[in-house]
Symmetry: C2
Subunit: 768 residues, 2 copies
């Protein structure tokens, strides 16, 4: 336990580093040379095509305008200025709702903090049990502010119990209200969207094999019969992973071709040759331009053959299809109903956005899916509780004496002092650090094995797994010292009511540790986030050594995206800490509020200027966010019960028992009340949109509009820029190019809405 002094020092260091990061950011971001690192979103949106600068060559790289330095904190109000509807329009609903998680943190914890400091801190401080203790146990001021100061059997615990109820009901209120607002936003967002292919399309999986028909014919016949008034068309899913690598290779060569063409244009005299061998280092010398042209032509042919093969090869056809309907009503009906008496075939669900589809998982059969999920559930259990085992193995391998014994010839190197201390000092830590860095990737891989079909679904499942890991290994691991496995073992051998007691008892003692954690991970971490150090360095390295074409520069820009799967569970840790310590040690709350405030500011800035989401799920993750906060609430209540039951306050423990029951009930009420809005699509809304769209676009040829929406990405490659240029004039819908697929939905939809005047006939439901 640290004293207030220790915390003051830690706070000083972290505040300094946070301010340092922010100052560096303020200076670095206004340099034109970094423009693409800090404002990539505007480039992608097409609003900005080159850095703002005035006049001379120098100003292309360094900002010489002194006045901008004076306004170096401008980005903060600027980040807050954009109103929410515009933010949704600009960055998508997912991002706008994501930053509202931080706002939710403020909404929950600011009033709780005020109340806790007004009521609990005085109650704790004036108890002064710990002050009288002179037996050598060192208690410090922080503990005098916490519940530990009351001493066993104190009547004052009733104040804490009362506050636990107040905090719980306040959290209920804020959570309920927020769920309602987000649901309204989602429904409003969906209702205001312009026509999008996924509104008319249903993903059908596990199509049964028919000996007489191809998958395509089978789908057509099935839906033409069972949805005869609504079926429009379908797109069978192909297994085109081999083709995808071919396309990727061709793209690389095309870059080189453009590069040499540029070189040739600058200096037409110089002969451009390359070597055909490995990495162009040896082999036959040939003319570069000629070489690339022929190679690309060859690849084009191969690609065409590959495409033909995929389309014609029955093995490449997956038993999954995207089925489109002539009205949103028809699609909504098909997505929500069961098709046949065997519920493991003809499984229908709303199609994800085309760019949200995770193609490799479309073809997993039902039984395999359940086996995969079983295996992954077991694997997650072992990963969470036994992840220290392989790391301990690595660390024991790093035991140099063993290495000497096994590999005696390394002895002379190892015996030296330098390497010895490096290996023994850093390797164990590095092994753990590497594991933690790769953890989100491992969890994402596990989610992929589980077989979810959309990227958004994968992110959500990864977040759930990561939260479990953080809860067990960061929270419990810090509160109860020891690895998760040791905890598990001791918990199994402990009395059931002793577990919350053991954890609850050590909760107040860990307050200082978590305050430090919040400052390091929360404050300095968030300040480092806005600086984007890694993308900054990577961009300049790439820009200097690799960038050859404008396209390369765009790729080097790498705006990144909000990685929901790995960032959201970390926010949840702060909710958990806040709720657990609100009653116990309220001094922790201001630190959490600073975190939420700073993070809200920074992430609002980032989603406006930097991040570019890969997909738009319409805030589908909110039920998960809500559920985890309720989980944190229940955990905090159980731990409080455990803590109080060690304080000879049995009656008060009983008085707290209704809280977790109420919280679980609250969860089910919210689930019933709001969750359907995230899973189902109401028929009334669908009917309204159908009616409106028929009135607005009576002549729309929907079949043509949907024709290629759900084609596997490799089938739409080709030279994307040519296609884009060509298509934007004629038919912006058919080919979704890389450039377009990077954009967020509202912009995407603008394209769509501009095409309302296309010719063709809107195919109305045929009367049966």
């Amino acid at each position: 336990m640290g004293s207030l002094n220790d915390i003051g020092v830690a706070a000083g260091i972290n505040i300094l580093s946070a301010v340092g990061f922010l100052l560096v950011f303020a200076v670095v971001r206004i340099q034109p040379i970094n423009d693409r690192v800090y404002f990539p979103k505007w480039y992608l949106k097409g609003t900005r095509s080159s850095p703002r600068h005035i006049g001379n060559v120098l100003s292309k790289f360094v900002n010489a305008d002194v006045s901008t330095y004076l306004r170096f904190l401008n980005w903060m109000p600027a980040a807050l200025k954009m109103p929410e509807p515009e933010l949704i329009e600009h960055a998508g609903l997912d991002s706008a709702v994501y930053v509202r998680i931080y706002l939710l943190g403020l909404k929950i914890f600011v009033p709780i903090t005020v109340l806790a400091f007004a009521v609990l801190v005085p109650v704790n401080w004036t108890s002064a049990t710990l002050g009288d203790d002179e037996e050598g146990l060192s208690y410090d001021q922080i503990d005098k502010l916490s519940i530990s100061n009351l001493g066993p059997g104190s009547k004052r615990f009733w104040v804490h119990i009362g506050m636990a109820y107040v905090f719980t009901f306040w959290t209920f209120y804020v959570l309920y209200h927020e769920y309602k607002v987000i649901t309204t936003m989602r429904l409003h967002f969906l209702a205001n969207q312009n026509r999008r292919p996924d509104q008319f399309t249903v993903l059908v999986r596990n199509i049964p094999v028919d000996p007489d028909e191809t998958v395509g014919e089978h789908v057509e016949h099935f839906f033409a019969v069972n949805h005869r008034e609504h079926y429009l068309s379908h797109q069978v899913a192909y297994n085109a992973n081999a083709l995808a690598s071919l396309v990727k290779k061709k793209k690389g060569l095309q870059n080189w071709l453009v590069y040499y063409e540029n070189q040739h244009a600058k200096n037409p005299e110089k002969e451009l040759t390359i070597k055909t061998g490995l990495w162009g280092l040896w082999g036959e010398k040939v003319d570069a331009l000629q070489h690339y042209k022929t190679t690309i032509e060859e690849l084009c042919k191969q690609e065409d053959e590959g495409r033909q093969k995929v389309i014609s090869d029955p093995k490449a056809i997956m038993p999954a299809a995207f089925v489109s309907f002539n009205s949103q009503w028809g699609a909504a009906v098909c997505a929500q109903t069961q098709q046949t008496s065997n519920p493991t075939v003809w499984l229908t669900e709303w199609a994800p956005e085309p760019r949200d589809v995770y193609w490799p998982n479309l073809a997993i059969p039902f039984v395999e899916l359940s086996i995969r999920r079983l295996i992954m559930a077991v694997a997650l259990f072992f990963l969470t509780f036994f992840f220290m085992v392989p790391i301990a193995l690595v660390q024991s391998v790093a035991n140099l004496d063993d290495i000497e014994r096994v590999l005696p010839f390394l002895k002379p190197i190892i015996e030296r002092n330098g390497p010895r201390s490096v290996i023994q000092g850093f390797l164990p830590g590095i092994a753990l650090k590497i594991f933690l860095i790769f953890l989100p990737t491992i969890l994402m891989a596990m989610s992929k094995i589980e077989g979810h079909v959309s990227l958004s679904g994968l992110e959500r499942k990864t977040a759930s797994k990561y939260f479990l890991f953080i809860f067990v290994n960061v929270f419990l691991g810090s509160v109860v010292a020891g690895t998760a496995f040791q905890q598990l073992n001791s918990f199994i051998h402990q009395s059931t009511n002793k577990i919350p007691e053991t954890i609850g008892e050590s909760i107040p003692m860990k307050a200082t540790f978590f305050i430090t954690y919040i400052m390091v991970d929360g404050w300095a971490g968030i300040a480092a986030e806005v600086l984007r150090l890694k993308p900054l360095i990577m961009f300049h390295i790439k820009n200097t050594f690799l960038v050859r074409t404008e396209q390369d520069r765009e790729q080097a820009m790498d705006p990144g995206s909000l990685e929901f799967g790995s960032t959201e569970p970390r926010i949840q840790l702060y909710f958990l800490l806040g709720l657990v310590y609100a009653v116990v040690t309220p001094i922790i709350l201001p630190f959490i509020i600073v975190f939420f405030g700073l993070a809200y500011l920074v992430f609002r800035h980032q989603i406006i200027n930097v991040y570019n989401q890969q997909y738009e799920s319409g805030a589908q993750f909110w039920p998960d966010v809500h559920g985890r906060i309720v989980t944190a609430l229940v955990i905090s209540q159980i731990l409080l019960i455990g803590l109080l039951s060690t304080q000879e306050a049995d009656q008060s423990t009983v008085a707290l028992l209704p809280l977790p029951v109420l919280a679980i009930w609250f969860h089910y009420v919210c689930k019933g009340r709001f969750e359907p809005a995230y899973i189902k699509f109401p028929l009334q809304e669908a009917m309204v949109k159908d009616t409106l769209q028929r009135a607005n676009d009576p002549m729309l040829n929907l079949r043509e509009y949907l024709k290629d929406a759900y084609v596997h990405p490799v089938f739409r490659s080709g030279d994307i820029y040519e296609l884009l240029a060509m298509d934007e004039e004629e038919n912006p819908h058919l080919v979704a190019t890389k450039r377009r697929s990077r954009m967020t939905t509202p912009v995407d939809s603008k394209f769509s809405s501009s095409s309302g005047t296309n010719e063709g006939e809107f195919s109305r439901p045929r009367p049966s």
Copy 2:
């Protein structure tokens, strides 16, 4: 622990009593006078209208035909003879599937018993650890056959572990196969049903209030817009509980009228007078016929007024309606989809059969529903764990010394020996017995408060609650002595891994007790079931004193029905015992097999000859049955782990850990694979049925057919026999009378199918 001898004696007694019951039954059932008690089903079906008898008056009451006595065991093969399809036709799918639960017990346990006796019993017997024990602990032969005979740390435990796996996989196989068969039966049953109103109808609840429209108009407008191609008509639900009592009163008076008319016809001279006062004992003397006629007329008027009032009074209209569609496809779509963006209003679900509707629960708002469920969940917890508290109170009140102190004037009575011993000896027991008799009623009342809208749903929920109660209070209560609350308390204060150990350890010791329990509750209980002692006595009492008309006799008959809510959980106890003891003390298995065999025989006989189900849910309860057997399996595995971990066999404990994981996974696989068939109605099936019906009955006036199907029962009363006679000629569909509503579906449907030639126009979907 009893010895084999004790069990032999108990078995003898119980076998004797069971055989006694069966013999009495065999004799009693062939007496014509009891015909309506033992064959009411045939009377209701109209196959039999008076007992079979030959000639003279005596034979009307006593069977004098000696040959029938010789064939007194005939009913057993007769019960088995009826093939299953005919059984479904005769007794309904619910009943046919219900007896398959017993058959499932045989399928699971016969092979397990054979294997256990071939492998486990020799292994246990030859271990002989207990035989060597001469320290005075008395072990008997049963324990020598059980796992206790192995002694700690024996290698032979691996045999038991292997058998645990074999038994588990066998149970999986049988359960999966049975689920598949039942699902097929259900789908086949639904597909083969003739046209029924509930196939076209959806129950809509929580209709929002509209200030400008009545509920009816609101429903009409909403569905006409959002299901415009499918909506046909609707029937608003009325709150007519007050009217129902009026109708009941009138019915009673009508019976009297018929009675006096009969009397008058027999003896026209005699003047029939009654007194108008209480129970006809005093008051003014009036002519009976005249009096009843006028009273009934008056009531008819009141009833008409009441009906008018209910229909016109806005307060009597509930925010719920039965909405009918012009095709099963349309109804299937509406039942499975969400209607509006607010998921707490316009809630749709398949309408239960008209006779399955539980009217009072139709109008509960969404929020109230969640509050009710919370309260009932808490109440169920207290009922299960603290039910002994009020009973202990009653018992302490029965403490005579206390009574003497409080009410000293009772002293002379109490001091006598007779009453004293009766009260002190029986009252405590009687209090518990009365509670247990009323328990299913209490649980049913709780389910009703929870707000389920169909009788079948109420029964299913009651069964779940009852199973919990039986598991905690009968199973755990017997294994670990003490009340449930004491157990709960000791479990909370026990180490988590100690709980299965404590229970597991005492499992082998309780084998003898459960064997006795099976014989008393299972063998003799089932034999008593077939005798129908209570209905037999009640029928003869009513027949002698109360029956005045033929209708009265029919009512006195009271066939009863399979009470799923209270009988199914008791069967589940046998599954639990069998699975728990299969590995531990296999000697218990033959007793369970005898129970399942005997019960199968008896209940097959009962559903053929006696029981008359109130509703037909199409085996919708099977997912619950399946789920509870899997639960029993998981419990048995955990207890086996607990038992083995006390036997110094740690490795073997680990070897068993995958079993519960597999069982839970198996549950989810089955749930995903089969459960939708019990909740949703596949569109393909609906489309096929629609197409068939349109081809068969192109001229059917569906609107007319559905017009009165979902009218509240009181609106269809009137003189039911008159209506029946009248309607059977003209329009058998409009008024579902009591007589018809008692019949099982297949017969019900015969009426419906015969009406295919009705005139009118089948209203096809209007093209939009």
